[in-house]
Assembly symmetry: C2
Homo-oligomer: 368 residues x 2
């Protein structure tokens, strides 16, 4: 199954809004065929693997099929994978995690069993969730999985007191950041960053066939029509201000303006996350200033921290996230360190929100 999960990761940038799934066909510990889900509308992992098996004349009798997500049992843009598996009739199907959609979860397993195929499920559930946190989040809590990308000094400063921030981290860290943009469905920033730096927020340094949508939180709708962020792929502007004339003008630049209610002096971030969930967004990559980053943490909209840390102390300067003052340390939201990777001279630290992660895991377990 670990090998299957590795293969699923190989389509990290491709499948959205579908989950990244891989399928291995094995007999006597020998890998006979494999496949991974292609871009949305294309064949799923099971079909890719069965196709390869057929091409190579592999007899399915007595095989074990490993698949990283419960095979689909409904007609979407492609026919149900369960039908293809039943037709192929392997001896056994081993599934890493059930379908996170509580409405359909378990039906794939049930139909396989009804067809006389032995099924084992919930093998490496947590590892499987780690490949598709966004898909599971969208299916179970109706909002995307969101990480904050932060570039900071060892003492947590993202800019000097005078605003200088280019470049705290080096080329290796900056290039790595583009991989995280590439896997996301939406790259989100704040209007402050757009006005100050006029960033492109597109994917560079990574070969990919799918570009994420770009999005701006812009409470007062201040963004200028010539902003470079509007070049290329579509952009969403989330705002509390109505300006039909400007909205119409921006439509020519492939910009969709979404008016949302206000909360706490800015765009209601929960409403924004729900809106994105409704619009097939699995993963949101945030690159913003301390204000928006802080607001996302404060409202519990930040699921993961992706911190590029430079080995220097800056003393005074802009912090990572502006938060309301805490009275006690126990009030701080609890994250857990996931991994640390050297990107010399910097390093990348990932941490995830303990409760948010647990909630996804529990939802998966409940759906079975």
């Amino acid at each position: 199954m670990r090998q299957a999960l590795k293969l699923a990761e190989s389509v990290l940038y491709i499948t959205a809004p579908n989950p990244r799934v891989a399928c291995l066909i094995v007999r006597d510990d020998q890998l006979l065929a494999s496949g991974a889900t292609q871009k949305a509308g294309g064949p799923h992992a099971e079909v890719m693997a069965l196709r390869q098996a057929a091409e190579q004349g592999v007899a399915m009798a007595g095989t074990t099929v490993y698949v990283t997500l419960e095979p689909c049992s409904h007609h979407g843009r492609t026919p149900p994978c369960v039908d293809a598996l039943i037709a192929a009739s392997p001896a056994r199907v081993v599934i890493a995690m059930g379908d996170p959609n509580p409405l359909v979860g378990g039906q794939g397993v049930a139909r396989l069993r009804a067809a006389g195929i032995a099924v084992t499920t919930d093998i490496c559930t947590e590892e499987a969730l780690a490949v598709n946190p966004g898909f599971v989040a969208r299916m179970t809590r109706k909002t995307p999985w969101t990480w904050l990308k932060l570039a900071a000094s060892l003492d947590g400063r993202i800019a000097l007191a005078n605003g200088e921030s280019q470049w705290i981290t080096g080329p290796a860290a900056r290039a790595d950041g583009h991989h995280w943009r590439a896997r996301s469905c939406v790259v989100l920033t704040g209007v402050g960053t757009v006005l100050a730096d006029d960033p492109q927020m597109n994917v560079r340094h990574v070969k990919t066939t799918r570009a994420p949508i770009k999005a701006i939180v812009d409470t007062r709708f201040q963004v200028a029509g010539q902003a470079r962020i509007f070049d290329g792929t579509p952009t969403w502007v989330f705002t509390c201000a109505s300006n039909p004339e400007k909205t119409a003008r921006l439509a020519d630049r492939n910009v969709q303006v979404i008016e949302l209610p206000a909360a706490d002096g800015g765009v209601d971030l929960h409403a924004m996350m729900r809106w994105m969930g409704e619009h097939d967004v699995n993963e949101v990559h945030v690159e913003a200033g301390a204000r928006l980053s802080g607001a996302l943490v404060q409202t519990q909209c930040a699921d993961e921290l992706l911190v590029y840390m430079a080995p220097m102390l800056l003393g005074e300067g802009m912090g990572m996230a502006t938060l309301k003052p805490l009275q006690q340390l126990t009030q701080a939201q609890r994250f857990e360190f996931m991994e640390t990777v050297s990107l010399a001279p910097d390093m990348r630290i990932r941490a995830r929100h303990i409760d948010h992660w647990k909630t996804l895991l529990q939802a998966l377990q409940r759906s079975n």
Copy 2:
């Protein structure tokens, strides 16, 4: 040699102010005997290994002796190891790094060679330096090697805005911190910390036969006689204020008051480091507030950062180190990450000052 360096690390807490040294006696890739330097005044590594060899009836002819530091050639509290080696007459001596003292460096090697023993030197110099940075610093630049122990959130806060800091990091991180106190010669803090927290600053959770001296930077000599830091081992108070009566009173509590010139509104930290170098201090472990930590960084007295980082964001709060504002990122002192260790739920990040480290390495190379 790597095995010898590992053995040298086993006496990390013991040998100060002497360096941590190990010696292996090997023939045909077979380890015949080994030894490590004991506490100051006790036998050096070479003597320990030769003794073990003699006890076990090992014939020294044809052996190779690996030693992590050039054998001493002068009479200190023990006779020169070079004499013992020449008397034993191995075929070859392999040395990790030369004696860092430019006045004596190379004489050990020269005398071995004159006695007809083949000598190879500068094998794993940098690794050998890493075992004894303090000894090398004291010998070459006349000041100790100094690290700042910091416990902070992921966004670099060592306390909440209201001052609460107990406990940002968990028990594993706190216990680990005691190992770093135990290996140091001096545990240094500021009077602000003493007045606010009344810490003991002693070594707990670690078995050790040697306790570091404790020291306080106390510009205006504000410390109270009943402070808990004065319990146990001797304490130094570095101050700019003269108070002979208080000094005399504190002497009963095993406190030595050292009057130093002022610099930049506080104790001249360079003078303090030189004083410690003159008083056989190899390694200084600093646990202080943002002010003293910042002053040590600002004055280039911080060689290493030992950061225990908790996976949480605090937003507002006390920073790691108060520094004068930088105008450009290029003005920041450059550290390099050395290692990251998980101490769940926290992690320990070590970074060292690039130029300070290079200077020690170059001094070692020059002394040969």
